[in-house]
Symmetry: C2
Subunit: 414 residues, 2 copies
């Protein structure tokens, strides 16, 4: 949690995983002429696992990347990602544009086309001019470098409404050898559980078997990216990709054990950092509330309640005003959609806001309003909602809803 609200500092050179290179260029999609095309490559084919959006409307690059992962049997040499256009709701032409981009990268790298993952982010429904991307690929590939500068540029090239780039690194030991985990992400709007990030790319020089990589990524995504919300809108392009190339020279992690535990902690630390950076950078956000629900039947039930609270506009605007209006939190919990037969008793609810107990047994508990308001002015406000009747618990992070969010989104395309 140390990086929660610090701007991401430069990544130290020794934290770069071995055997990866990075690059970015301006290919002309962003009118600002900022870099809008990024490339991450592994020198050797890497084990690749991915988690994609659950939205029924899926962008062309999501369809192509998923197909590539199947064809390549979980191997990838590269991730190519553009900002400035989501290439979504673009029909057969959009699929062709995504394929053409991967073909150009594969040709320059000399690898099978299905070993190239492709991602897009930006406005939905505008045809993507593939020639802008394909003509930029040769210089994109010739610029590849294994330096922190190249990494920082690539992480910036995938930004859209993000206020700042997001990256995080961790290391751990596998069989006594140091391995490195490095991730970057973009996302500030259309952020909601069920692949919450829009785009996140994590590379490691650890070696993982494909089944371990796939399962691990899904589990970690559930506790990190899928536990943040900005506006309840699940994007059509959400993609999280993990590349593991084994270049550190440690033996492959194939099963449960201390090595997998250490690696899981490192991966989860990077993914949580990135997820929290996304919510901190939520469009217009002035603070982040950490909503922990406890004392219900199961973790899954706790997660649904926590997400309902975290998604409530009335709760989010109360945080904007640093208003200890716990009634809105209880009311949001009460309208949580749960399967028949699953219940919890609002009359047993205890609510703590920024460490102050404001509600006990479902009713007001006397507290110092001014002190609570003052503590809620912090950038990070922990909230605990405890229904006192079961072992289930879950945490969801949510940004507040400010006039700036409305300003950003009511003028996005104009």
């Amino acid at each position: 949690m140390k990086k929660f609200f610090t701007d991401p500092a430069a990544i130290a050179e020794h934290l770069l995983p071995r055997g990866f290179q990075y690059s970015s260029v301006a290919c002309g999609l962003k009118k600002s002429r900022k870099h809008d095309l990024a490339l991450i490559t592994s020198d050797a084919p890497a084990v690749a696992a991915a988690v994609f959006t659950t939205n029924r409307v899926q962008a062309a690059p999501v369809l192509v990347s998923r197909e590539h992962l199947e064809k390549s049997q979980g191997l990838a040499r590269a991730i190519v990602a553009n900002s400035g256009n989501a290439n979504c709701a673009t029909g057969a032409q959009g699929i062709e544009a995504a394929r053409a981009t991967t073909a150009a990268v594969a040709s320059e790298l000399g690898c099978p086309q299905d070993q190239v993952q492709v991602c897009s982010t930006g406005v939905i429904g505008i045809p993507l001019d593939a020639s802008k991307l394909t003509s930029a690929v040769p210089s994109l590939v010739s610029n590849l470098e294994s330096t922190t500068d190249a990494y920082h540029s690539a992480a910036r090239a995938i930004m859209t409404t993000d206020a700042r780039p997001k990256w995080s690194a961790a290391t751990c030991r596998v069989d006594g050898k140091e391995v490195r985990v490095l991730g970057c992400a973009k996302g500030a709007g259309m952020i909601h559980p069920q692949m919450a990030t829009m785009l996140a790319f994590v590379v490691t020089d650890a070696a993982l078997s494909w089944p371990v990589a796939a399962r691990l990524l899904r589990e970690v995504a559930g506790r990190t990216f899928n536990s943040v919300t900005v506006d309840g809108d699940t994007s059509t392009n959400d993609t999280l990709i993990l590349l593991a190339n084994g270049a550190a020279g440690a033996p492959p992690i194939r099963r449960a054990g201390p090595d997998l535990e250490r690696f899981t902690r490192a991966l989860e630390s990077v993914c949580r950092d990135l997820a929290l950076m996304i919510v901190c950078d939520g469009e217009g956000a002035s603070r982040v509330a950490e909503i922990e629900v406890r004392g219900v039947a199961s973790d899954a039930v706790a997660a649904v309640i926590a997400r309902t609270i975290a998604g409530s506009p009335l709760v989010k605007t109360a945080f904007t005003g640093a208003d200890p209006n716990w009634g809105r939190i209880l009311a949001a919990a009460g309208r949580t959609p749960l399967p028949r037969g699953v219940a919890f008793d609002p009359a047993s609810a205890e609510i703590r806001l920024a460490g102050i107990t404001v509600c006990r047994r479902g009713q007001s508990h006397p507290f110092d309003e001014a002190a609570a308001h003052h503590k809620m002015l912090e950038r990070h406000v922990p909230v605990i909602v405890d229904f006192k009747s079961g072992p289930g618990r879950a945490t969801v992070w949510t940004s507040d809803f400010t006039t700036e969010y409305v300003r950003i989104n009511s003028s996005y395309r104009s």
Copy 2:
């Protein structure tokens, strides 16, 4: 739809249903000293039906009113309603306060206590001082009048963040005799399908059997109050009550037929007017979008998709900016939570915004952006999303999300 955006004009005297009286006073709950306690009475016991919030957190007056309806076997003489305090999350003391209020009204009217319905609206979690209400009841009852002025005052007394009072009237013939339907409502925030109104009271001098009244109210509520959304937050106090006292002298409506059809249209017209007034008066709203979903398996599926679109902050802020950003509409439809096995094909979607086709077969359809923007500046923007593969259709009305919404809700209690 004629009253969609007009401020409600004064109700003509001849539209007042026979045999009802109205009153309001300032009992001291609102710091502004405005009227905050309203009473509606029927001279004779009326058939009473009600629809209450589906939120698991239910305010004390909701619990007491439901209990009273059961005990009285669907009869009521009065509705007493306060603003300024929701009497919710107030425990046993809250229940006592609600009971004490109904006891005071019953005593003054000389009727059984269970023939008094009680409602509250305002802040959640603050103990309600029942003595303020009970000591005001004698003057409340002595002020009762069957005049439009008294009705207007009562409708104002239940307002909280509402910018304006809301009422609507209709008449129809039952067995050749004219009957009158008159309703008022309050609601501007915490508005979402599943009893969307917070409070609405409809009185009629038609005679209805209780089973007809109960079924009719539920059906009409589904198509009206439960089809509007402001912020996705279902209130803890939502209550819609219908009183039918038969004072017009028409015979009771007991079964299907032309009389029931005419009365249904009159009731639905009043309820739709009130529901649309609520969404037009949505906190900070600058315009209302009418989201019609067509061409899916069933009306129920269409309703869930329409509600998901209508609840999307990104869609709502696009309307704020009059931005024809149909990609957000399609993306919101795509994340609709539907039961397993229920599907629709985004690739067949056609979207019309303010009468302009902007998307065909799930892709961009060329249109004049400036013209679309201009048409979206209207206060009422119709949207049709057609998936072209089934008979299901539903309409949901939603307000836009403005900086004013955030301002209102981030400073509500301060």
